[in-house]
């Protein structure tokens, strides 16, 4: 049981990262990015492919994260920027199209056979009472903790973070202050996609990398963001960890084939019982 909870927290922390990327993009641009999960695929596929060509692992992982971020920029500049005055539903369908495109590209480049990425440091386990922790899980905790600290400093202490925050609070007022919302949107897409890339490459040694891994990963990120209250960064992390634990314990109790159904069932229940999430403010209902 304790074991299930530990591995649930580790996976959940990564769902939280995907969710934070989701929230950053949503807050700044107002777009719910359907292709968020595919950015995790982009990162993981890039890393595995580079390792296959003999590139050292740390460099490959960094490249994976970078390529994810660039993919986010490309999505923004190629498809969404020109449509930013269109109705939200148009932007939504554009991100759906982008997710399909990216998945097809991953299939073309990577093939349909799942492949592993080596763990970030050598195997062996650390026992912790009744549970054991793998080094990769320690890496996850460290990476997520560091990234959260970095994000905190970014948003609270730097000019660019302040500008991002300003345009997510009130876009028109931000523009009056000389902040270019379109540039902020580009940065948000880069940041959001790169965070997804971190999640994709970090989870890769635990789960296998496949061209369609992003689908359920992205959706779990969304469930985490909803659970935490969409728009809240700390809520997204807590939501992610909760989802990870529910999923892990649920799969332990029922069979693992039902794992995804449990998570998405939670989403439906949350939407029904408390649509504003755990930390969100109450939203107008109809």
């Amino acid at each position: 049981m304790l074991q299930l909870i530990v591995s649930g927290i580790a996976n959940g922390a990564l769902y939280g990262l995907v969710a934070v990327g989701f929230v950053v993009i949503y807050n700044v641009t107002g777009i719910i990015n359907f292709a968020q999960g595919e950015f995790t695929t982009v990162g993981a596929v890039t890393a595995v492919t580079l390792v296959g060509y003999g590139v050292p692992l740390p460099l490959a992982v960094l490249c994976g994260v970078g390529v994810s971020g660039v993919a986010g920029l490309v999505l923004w500049y190629a498809a969404l920027r020109g449509a930013h005055r269109q109705p939200l539903v148009v932007q939504l369908i554009i991100t759906i199209g982008a997710s399909v495109c990216l998945r097809g590209l991953a299939l073309l480049i990577f093939g349909s056979t799942p492949k592993p990425l080596p763990p970030f440091s050598n195997n062996g386990t650390i026992s912790l009472g009744a549970a054991t922790i793998t080094p990769q899980q320690l890496w996850i905790f460290a990476i997520v903790a560091v990234l959260m600290a970095v994000l905190f400093v970014l948003f609270e202490r730097t000019r660019i973070g302040g500008a991002l925050l300003a345009s997510s609070i009130n876009r028109d007022a931000a523009r009056l202050m000389g902040i270019d919302p379109l540039r902020m949107s580009a940065i948000a897409f880069f940041l959001g996609a790169a965070l997804a890339g971190v999640a994709g490459t970090t989870i890769a040694p635990i789960a296998l990398v496949s061209f369609d891994m992003g689908g359920s990963l992205g959706l779990k990120g969304f469930v985490a963001a909803t659970l935490g209250g969409i728009g809240s960064v700390p809520g997204a992390v807590v939501g992610g960890i909760l989802i990870g634990v529910i999923e892990s314990v649920g799969a332990g109790i029922f069979s693992s084939g039902w794992r995804d159904a449990i998570v998405f069932g939670v989403l439906i229940v949350v939407l029904f019982v408390r649509p504003e999430g755990l930390f969100g403010r109450s939203v107008a209902r109809v």
Binding site: L88, T226, G257, D260, V286
Partner: protein, 324 residues
């Protein structure tokens, strides 16, 4: 599309549907059967998207639900026609139960919730092996029959499919031009304003959602009896996206749009298959499938970005301009 163009389009479409069987080309007839079956599901989605601007990405799941419900009950001895009716009732009940919490949400959130529904449906199709045969599917159910004869092959499916396209098309047309249709369009422009004017937002959306799911279920049941074998692959997330592509391609502002979109989708899809076999002559089917997926993603982005009202209305406008 104005009234005159609409009549012309219906006339041309009807002529094509009547004349195609006389070509005696098995490939084209089979393609037309699938176009009809897809069109029924796309009509439902088109109603939901065209009026209420709700984007549902689990249409293929309801298609699958209808297919499995009909196949599972007729394999247990129920008459196939009654099985279709039972499947429709079942799909309607499921859609109402899941739609109630989901449609409380707005815009984007509805779409992501339907994505989750699609994943859940996929898990159920794969894991509830007693009813679905699991990942490898099942085909042990009898075909439809008429006056003691089994209805197998292309022609019965062709006639039945296009008859039902007409029936569903008329239903959608009537709803679009009724007070319900106006209420849904009001919801699309502002839920708050619509609610203030006395529109029961959630009930109206739920009605459209359930009807759309029932059309999908009908499409699925027809597909099951036509192909005689069903497995979860046919009802995947990609397939749900293809239904959206049909609606966006044909245009969601009219009843005819999704039907035309279904035809365009099939034509493009077979053209892409041909193209892929030229580009990748020897090698893997995987690459060809990937090419198809990439192309459809790009088509979806380009059409919604540059021709948001769809391909056909854009062409009709251009023709109208050059003629006038």
């Amino acid at each position: 599309m104005n009234r005159r163009n609409g009549f012309i389009a219906v006339g041309v479409g009807a002529a094509i549907v009547v004349l195609v069987p006389f070509l005696h080309n098995g490939y084209i007839t089979g393609l037309m059967v699938l176009i009809a079956q897809n069109a029924i599901a796309a009509l439902g989605l088109g109603l939901l998207f065209g009026t209420a601007r709700v984007v549902s990405v689990c249409q293929a799941s309801f298609v699958g639900l209808g297919a499995y419900a009909a196949a599972a009950s007729s394999s247990r001895g129920l008459d196939p026609w009654l099985s279709i009716v039972l499947a429709l009732v079942f799909v309607a009940v499921v859609a109402a139960i899941v739609g109630w919490p989901v449609l409380r949400l707005r815009g984007h959130y509805i779409t992501l919730a339907t994505l989750a529904l699609g994943y859940i449906a996929m898990v159920v199709f794969n894991e509830a092996t007693a009813f679905t045969g699991g990942p490898s599917g099942f085909g042990t159910f009898p075909p439809l029959h008429f006056a003691g004869h089994p209805l197998t092959g292309d022609m019965p499916a062709y006639i039945l499919g296009w008859l039902l396209v007409v029936v569903c098309g008329v239903i959608v047309y009537v709803i679009r031009n009724s007070s319900r249709g106006r209420a849904l369009r009001a919801i699309a422009s502002s839920e708050t304003a619509a609610a203030a004017m006395g529109v029961e937002v959630r009930t109206r959306k739920l009605e459209a959602f359930v009807l759309s799911a029932m059309f999908a279920g009908l499409s699925g049941a027809l597909y099951a009896y036509y192909v005689g074998y069903i497995s979860p692959v046919s009802f995947s997330f990609d397939q749900s996206i293809y239904f959206i592509i049909m609606v966006v391609l044909g245009g969601s502002a009219t009843t005819l749009g999704p039907i035309i979109g279904s035809a365009l989708y099939s034509v493009i899809s077979s053209a892409l298959t041909q193209l892929a076999s030229v580009i990748f002559p020897l090698s893997a089917q995987g690459a060809a499938a990937a090419l198809q997926v990439i192309a459809f993603g790009a088509i979806l982005i380009c059409v919604i970005r540059f021709l948001p009202s769809g391909l056909i209305p854009a062409i009709a406008r251009r023709l109208g301009r050059s003629a006038g």
